[in-house]
Amino acid sequence: MIDALRFEWVRLHTIRSTYWLLASALVLNVATAFLVALLTRHHMLTNVIVGAVVTAGGANPPVPLAAVFVAAIGIFATGHEYAYGTIQPTLTAIPQRSTVLAAKTIVVAVVGAGFAVVSMVVDLAAGVIFWHEVPDLTIEPLAGALPGYLVLTVLWAVLGTQLGQLFRSVAAPLVVVLVIPLVVEQLIFRMSNLPALDWLQPAVKFLPFLAGSQLTSLSGEAAGSDATQFGLFDRWISGSIFAAFIAAVLAAAWLSFNRRDA
C-alpha cells in the first residue's frame, strides 16, 4: 500500500492540472472571503460573518465552488487513467485494483484536506485585514462549521475520484458534480415549494448535495428557516447522508473497477 501511495503522490504532483486546480480554488476562496469581509466591514462582527469569510460562503452557495475544483482533481486522478490509457502501466506496476483505488482515494482526500486547512487560514487572514483581530473560532456555529468545511471538501474529493473511476472519463463526472446539485436538486427544492408538489418536501432533506452543504451551515444547527420548512437534519446527520451517497458511488466504482476489463 505504501508503494501505491507513493505512486499516486508522484502521479498527482507531476501534472500541471493539479496545481492550476488548487490555485484556482484558493484564489476563488480568498476572493470570496475578501469580498465578504470588505462588504461587511462596517457591520458588527458576528460568528456568521466570520464563518462566511473563513469558509468562503458557508452553506449559501448551491455548490461549494472550491470543493468542485478539488473534486476535479479526484476526477482527473481516475478519469485520466482511461483518457490517456495509463491504466495499463498503472496496473502492470500495481495489479491489485483495490489497492490502486484506495491509494488514489486517500491521496486525493489528503490533498483536499490540506487545501481546506490552507484555504481557511488564508481566508481568515483576508478577514483579519478588516477586522484587526483574530476572532474566537471555538464557539458555535464556527466550532462545527469549520471542521464541517474540512469534511465537506474531503467528501467532494473522494466523490470526484469515485465518479472518475465509475465513468472512466473526465467529462461525464464533471457534468454530474455540476448538474445534479445545480439543476436537479435545485429543481426538486424549488418545485417542492409549489402547493401541488409539496409532497416532495420530505425528500428534500435527503438530497445528497444539499445535505452535504449543511456541513458548513452557519445558522444554528441547520439552515435557519429551511431547517424548519423542510425538516433538514442537523449538521452531522446531513453530512452523513452526503457521505452515504458517496459511499454508494464508491462501492459502485470499486465493483466496476474490479469486474470490468482494464
Binding site: 508503494d3 501505491a4 507513493r6 505512486f7 503522490w9 508522484v10 502521479r11 507531476t14 501534472i15 500541471r16 492540472s17 485520466h80 490517456y84 490509457g85 495509463t86 495499463q88 502501466p89 498503472t90 496496473l91 502492470t92 506496476a93 500495481i94 495489479p95 491489485q96 469486474r259 470490468r260 476489463d261 482494464a262
Partner: protein
Amino acid sequence: MITARALKKRYGDKVAVDDLSFEVRPGVVTGFLGPNGAGKSTTMRLMLDLDHGCGETRFDGRRFATIKHPMREIGAVLQARAFHPTRSARSHLRMLAAGSGIPAARADEMLEFVGLADVKHKQPRGFSLGMAQRLGLAQALLGDPGTLILDEPANGLDPHGIHWLRDVLKSLAAEGRTVFVSSHLLSEMELMADQLVVIGRGKMIYNGAVDGFVREFTQSIILVRSPQIGKLAAALSAVGGLTTEPAGDGTLRVTGADAATVGELAHRADVVLHELATETASLEAAFITATGMSEEYVARRTPTPGGAA
C-alpha cells in the same frame, strides 16, 4: 518462463481468444504472430490480468496479480502512447518506479539507454510514435525484469530504430531473459524471433521454431533451367508426387522434391541442366498460408457503377 494455459476470452457471442496454451522459454525471443484482430493484444492482456477471462498464466510459477512488485520481474508494454501528455518522460518513469520500489535514478538510466535523455524533461505530447515506443521500452526495462512482454514494439520505429530494437531484444534474450513480442511486421520477426506462437481468430495455429513454421506451412520450390525443358518436364512428371510448372525462359518450377532428387532424375533422363536452385520459402509466405483462412478483417472489392468489377 511463461506458461499460459487454456486462455479464453469472449465478447458476447464472439470468441476473441479460444483455448490458447503455450510456453515462452527464457533465453530466446518468442514472436507472437497473427493477422489483425487475431487476438494477440487480448491474449497479452489476459496474461497480465488486465482483462478477465478463463485460463491462467504463470510467470515462473506465479500469477501476475500475486507478484508484489511485478515491474521488477515482468516488463510489459501493450500500448505505445500510454502516458499523460503533459507529464514529462522522466516523471512518467519516476512515477512507475515509485510504485514498484525502484530507485528513481533508474528512470534517467533507462531514458539514456533508449536515447531519450535529451527530451526527458519535455512533455511527451509531441513525441513521435517511434519516441513513444522508446519510452515504452524504457518503461518495460525500468525494473530490470527477467521477462518482457511487448505488443508491437517496432511500430513507428525507423529502420535504424528497428535494427536497434532487434539487437536489444536479442541481447536481452541472450542474457537469459524471457522475451515475448508480438508483431505483424514479418520481416522484423523473421530476423528477431527464434520461436513463434502463431494464432488466427483466437486459435493456435503454430507453436515452435521459426524454421519449423516455414517448413510446415510452405513447400520448397526447385527452379531448374535446361535447354531440353520438354524432355525434363516429361521425366519429372512421370514420378509420382512431383508437380512441374513452366516458369518461362527454359525454366521449370518443381515442387514435391528436393534439388538432389531433381538433379538425379535429370541425370537418369540424360538431360543437360544449366541451373538447379532451391527457392527458400519466406516467413511471410508461411504466414499467409497458415493464416489465410483466419483473417478477421478482409477487404472486399467494391462493385463499380455499370457492373464492371
